[in-house]
Symmetry: C2
DNA sequence: CGACAGGTTGATCCCGATCAAGTTTAGTGG
DNA sequence: CCACTAAACTTGATCGGGATCAACCTGTCG
């Protein structure tokens, strides 16, 4: 756990990096694609920002810490999403894989040189900024039950209607994403179950039963 | 009030637009710069997204509404910041001037054509995304007093140390930005005053007295 | 089996929302 | 200039949703 298991460039296996804040991903600037295990911290908030990254496959969680240890998960990323953003050449967030993931990395200097990359990132940044705006509404104005309903709808695309959603996050991670405590998240799940809006096959497997009621709760996502 | 007072291209005065949701800014695609009065709604959440805008001068507030009327101010913009972002060709937020403002507009199609504009927007989007990440931490994990301290530090650049900050927002607008109620914001201001961290010359004129304590409260901005 | 990480549920507490007066400020017209 | 008004702000009293504290449960893996 907490270990980079493979790197495509040359196929070499890099040493564990989860526990060493400054050792992550200082590879050569032409190592674009990496395969990373679940629950690996890829970037650390505060480290010098050398690279910008794209999720090719899998899920990544960005989080920020307060000095006293309070944590906020600020963004959940899937394929296509970009991370490794910086203020003053310092990473603004930590990034941790939620599932095994494939990640594409670019040297920050490539941004100026490669207009195709720039155009792709521009579109993606716009989308992610819109998602952050929605998330501000969730964090600032929604009740606990509404937040959890919103969270589940967001993870469950329109397409997969009858399917079962596998949550690859613990209650604590969901709580840190939604600005709640793990107990409140657990109670919200139980309440949604009690009302018949969702079915919990297991703690981490959810099926949305009544999408209409969920949408109404989430304020029409 | 709530009226566009000037448009540089040709110097024509456009009709009031504040109250008509669909009448704003459908000018020719080569009308780049506009002068706008304070408290004018420039964009409406949900309108078709034709243009992308840059703040040249002044302050703009982006907000989102829930169906039941709860509001979240999702971003505060100053010179250089960009707005008019869209999901599915629909504006994701309403935009309202807080002060008289100068705004530069571009046709969305110009994004693909103009690489210089694209590069500028890319840099700006990255900065705004980082700010949104911080704001998620504020909304998700900070107490009322911490939020208000953070807000004041954010508005008061390092440079202006002894100066007086003019808030161009009401308590309600600040509350909607910080995910609080106007009463709680008012109490937080009073508490900061009581503790000697700020001086309130008037309700909308603040001087930060003890920046160190403010930083500690805000979790080291 | 035992250990432990993650999850659920209950009891209580507290911060911020809500409800309710008052107070200040800015604007308007006589 | 002052009286009147309305909007914004402050402050107090009370309430409630979610945090906190505390057991207990469940599943997984050695």
């Amino acid at each position: 756990m907490r270990q980079i298991i493979d790197e495509r460039t040359g196929g070499t296996v890099r040493p564990p990096c989860g526990a060493e804040p400054h050792s992550a991903l200082h590879g050569p600037s032409h190592a674009p694609t990496m395969r990373i295990a679940a629950h690996v911290t890829v970037l650390h908030e505060g480290d010098p920002a050398r690279r910008i990254m794209e999720v090719v496959d899998g899920a990544v969680m960005l989080s920020k810490l307060l000095p006293d240890g309070r944590r906020q998960v600020v963004e959940l990323l899937g394929p296509g999403d970009v991370f490794g953003l910086a203020h003053a050449d310092i990473y603004a967030c930590s990034a941790e894989t939620l599932t095994p993931a494939t990640i594409n990395t670019h040297d920050r200097s490539a941004l100026e040189r490669d207009p195709v990359l720039g155009a792709r990132l521009l579109r993606r940044f716009e989308a992610q900024l819109c998602v952050m705006h929605s998330h501000a509404l969730v964090l600032g104005r929604m009740s606990a039950l509404e937040r959890v309903a919103f969270f589940l709808l967001r993870l469950m695309p329109e397409t997969m209607v009858g399917g079962t959603l596998h949550l690859s996050m613990t209650r604590q991670e969901i709580a840190d994403f939604l600005g709640l405590t793990l107990e409140t998240v657990s109670r919200a799940f139980s309440e949604l179950k009690r009302r018949g809006l969702v079915v919990l096959q297991r703690a981490d497997e959810v099926r949305i039963q009544d999408r209409g009621s969920m949408r109404r709760l989430a304020g029409a996502l």
